[in-house]
Amino acid sequence: MTAANNIENQNNKNKQEKMTAEKKQQKFNQNIKKTIKTIIFWGIVLAVFRYIFPDRFPAAISMSSRYLKEMILVFPAVLVIMGLADRWVPTSMVEKYLGHNSSFKGKFLAVFLGTLPTGPMYVAFPIAAELLRKKASLSNVIIFLGVWASLKVPQLGVEIQFVGLKFSILRFIFTLISIFIIGLLMEKIIDTSEFTGAE
């Protein structure tokens, strides 16, 4: 019986994987189309621009190509790091390590796990809710959310490249301090028993 169940589960799983793969392929094709359309659109705009303002065209092109060059220098590497993190750091690991830790170690872990280059914000909210249900302290969860949103490692690389090292370091320090204050303040104000009590 268990064997039959296993086979059934396996079949369902394969089906699901196949469906998500198809969906991904569709999205992939859509994005390629969108990229090509964007290139054509801006190509036309630039051609018109060149026709109407021939004297300003070189300035525009030199500015654009400067930024294009900087982007090509950092973006592929950043995306590769994000892709690797997506495969090697599953969100279940985040839950495992943050669930029952309190005090200093928990806060340190919250910061560390938040900076890892994992998914967008809307992925973090369900994780945060799950952590609260598992009785993680509210301050740790808020710190985790804040760091996840603002202080991701590959984004810091892009920030240093485009805005500057000093700015990035200052923003990192002040933001981290602010996130800790917000977390501790909220823990004082809000009662989280509705999360742990309801289940």
């Binding site: 991904k24 525009a60 220098l73 809710a129 490249q161 200052l170 002040f174």
Partner: protein, 158 residues
């Protein structure tokens, strides 16, 4: 410089990953490519817009509007703007850099980046559903206030 660091780290991580698990690494690279393609249209548009804007707007004009000293209301405005906008930070950061290159002050840019990442008006429905009204309101409200403080601190220290 930072570009070298990022590229070397990426290379080391990829090699290590392939050494550990071929299949996983292939999937990771696929994710990177599809993410890149998702961002590409916006990045291309950003590059084009930066070129056109800077061909027309002399830096002096940007300096006049976004440079110099800032009042609390102006920085608050930049923070609110960041809160309601839904721009991926990978797009917003080069944009912010271009404004600073053109002479904008760090203070409003810092407020904008901080709320853009920390406060999400667009993601509030998800946050409400998952974490409830109280946490959502306090978290976003406090983040908005602290964004202004962070911005002024950066303005002082930079």
């Amino acid at each position: 410089m930072i570009a070298v660091v990022i590229n070397i780290s990426a290379l080391v991580l990829v090699l290590f990953s392939f050494f550990k698990n071929r299949e996983k690494s292939k999937q990771a690279l696929k994710i990177a490519v599809s993410k890149g393609l998702g961002l590409a249209p916006q990045l291309i548009s950003l590059v084009a817009v930066i070129g056109i804007i800077f061909a027309f707007l002399p830096p002096e004009l940007i300096k006049e509007f976004l440079g110099g000293e800032f009042s609390l209301i102006q920085v608050g405005g930049a923070a609110l703007f960041g809160a309601v906008m839904m721009i991926p930070s990978l797009i917003a950061l080069p944009l912010a850099g271009s404004l600073i290159d053109a002479g904008a002050s760090y203070t409003p840019v810092a407020a904008f980046i901080t709320t853009l990442t920390m406060v999400g008006f667009v993601t509030i429905p998800v946050e409400l559903k998952e974490l409830g009204k109280k946490i959502t309101v306090y978290r976003n409200g406090l983040a908005l206030i602290f964004a202004v403080i962070i911005a002024f601190m950066i303005g002082v220290f930079i």
